[in-house]
Symmetry: C2
């Protein structure tokens, strides 16, 4: 992949009249914000442009998607956004494999699968790169583009809570609000809304919280039985993984989710100097320092015991 | 009260060598951020300056308070920050009543109790005003002042979630991060940390959630019994008031907290076009459009029934 500058990426996009913009499967706010802001900008320039994704876009992003009527055309330029690896294309985008002209991404792990690419791992959200390319293409940021860009930044930074929300993230958010982004409405939909099923599942899961290692480790369990009783699905329970590490004094928060096949999907969240990816590596998993995951087979009791032992060792090694 | 400009406020502060800075009782992140950033700036200029508050500063703000050693002196200039009304002085600051030289505030409801005042209701946090005055006094923003200013903005805007987080709020936050504010650490302490007692109380309260009016109204109860069982105190349960309105489809979220004297303290949170203050006014309370409160006496069942009836009427009037 040949690395290009922001200016070169903008010039390249200006060359083509029919552009397909690909998102990763299970699209999140940043991927959606990137694809829809770019397609809107390209259409403003009189081009045909269409976002593509293997999975449906969740309803809560309707305020972004409903403002871009679908277009059908034979693309002359294939662009990926917020997409680190072609393995994330999903079934419906298989046909685009090894045909990507331009890759715009913020994952340091990007595999360089496109002909041209711009990868800026310092950007908290990929929309932070997109907004600059859109401006360089000479398109004014309108309220619709501003909503899409703001959505990408706020969802990828946990509503500006995490360390990937840099000064640049805040500054671009300020600009988007001035351009008309409905910041408070977007944040309410993304961070202040729970389904009744999610609430019910949370209530059941809270009863399973257990503490170990003088309160430095907390575990929470989500069983198939809880999902059945609450009517919640996998996506409803994702927020639950953040609960144990939020508890005062907890350095390692462990979420144990029972899977269909009897195995357990583990999410770890850590604080301070405890390396979550190191603990998960013991079980063949991985991730980042503060958030990692793995899968373990066994009985619920065994799985919890193994995890607590590995986490205790890591905590003790830091004393 | 004579209204002054930012420049005049800065010039006034530069005139005095011994300054007392008063916070409101039950101090929050914005009040603390204002008082400590201003006192730090004044000390950098060689002056004596000390924050005062009737109540102790909560431990979670230690990263701000511990870096300013206490000073004892006879103040020549009394300043209030983030303080709308002398009734909020609390017992220990009684002696300063009607002696305030300069009032710096962002509450539109400010009663104008000082000789000079600057009140900017468009500022999401009062620290947004302070940072400009500090710069106008010619003091460089160091990482300590940046932490204090950032704390004020993030706590008063709910981690940049609410509509009072304007473009200016985001832009000043960006500047503070560049000046060294530990944004992610501060946000974790303020928004991602729960006491075990709070978690326990939440678990008990969640079991009390009830829905009315086709799911448009949700109630949650916090009883004395729950506080006893969980060991939680009043401050632990404050976050619970945000739970019912977060539930999908809910337009009016009602939190009913049992008080010592058998009466109930009610918190209302609403969405869309439902006016919380109008519903609370029925019971002699008040507040803002999206958040209001009141006190009601009676049995738990009666209180809930009255509230649901008043909320239903308001919802139906909007159909």
């Amino acid at each position: 992949m040949k690395n290009v500058t922001l200016e070169e990426a903008a010039r390249l996009l200006l060359l083509y009249d029919r552009v397909a913009v690909l998102m990763h499967k299970s699209p999140d706010g940043d991927a959606i914000g990137c694809a829809y802001s770019l397609c809107t900008a390209l259409r403003r320039l009189g081009k045909k442009a269409q976002p593509y994704c293997s999975d449906p876009i969740p309803d809560k992003y309707a305020y972004i998607t409903e403002r871009l009527a679908p277009q059908t055309f034979e693309p002359k330029c294939i662009v990926t956004v917020d997409l680190a690896d072609q393995q994330l294309f999903g079934d419906k985008l298989e046909c685009f494999k090894n045909k990507v002209d331009l890759c715009i991404d913020h994952h340091g792990s990007n595999t360089g699968f496109a002909e041209y690419g711009i990868v800026d791992a310092s950007a908290g959200a990929c929309t932070q790169i997109l907004v600059r390319i859109i401006e360089l293409m000479g398109v004014d940021i309108d309220p619709y583009i501003a909503d899409a860009i703001f959505t990408g930044i706020t969802t990828d930074t946990g509503c500006f809570k995490y360390s990937n929300a840099t000064a640049a993230s805040f500054r671009i958010a300020a600009n988007m609000i001035e351009k008309g982004a409905q910041s408070a409405r977007i944040n309410r939909v993304m961070f202040d809304t729970k389904s009744r099923e999610r609430l019910e599942a949370e209530k059941l899961a809270l009863a399973s919280v257990r503490f170990y290692c003088n309160g430095k480790i907390a575990t929470i369990s989500v069983t198939k039985d809880m999902l059945e009783k609450s009517g919640a699905d996998e996506s409803d329970t994702e927020g639950i993984a953040s609960i144990p590490r939020q508890i005062e004094g907890v350095k390692v928060g462990i979420t144990i989710r029972e899977k269909e096949d009897g195995a357990y999907k583990i999410s770890l969240r850590t604080t301070d100097d405890i390396d979550a990816s190191k603990i998960c590596a013991v079980f063949g998993g991985g991730g980042h320092k503060a958030a990692a995951g793995c899968q373990i087979k066994g009985s619920a009791g065994e799985v919890e015991k193994k995890l607590v032992e590995a986490a205790s060792r890591e905590i003790e090694s830091k004393v």
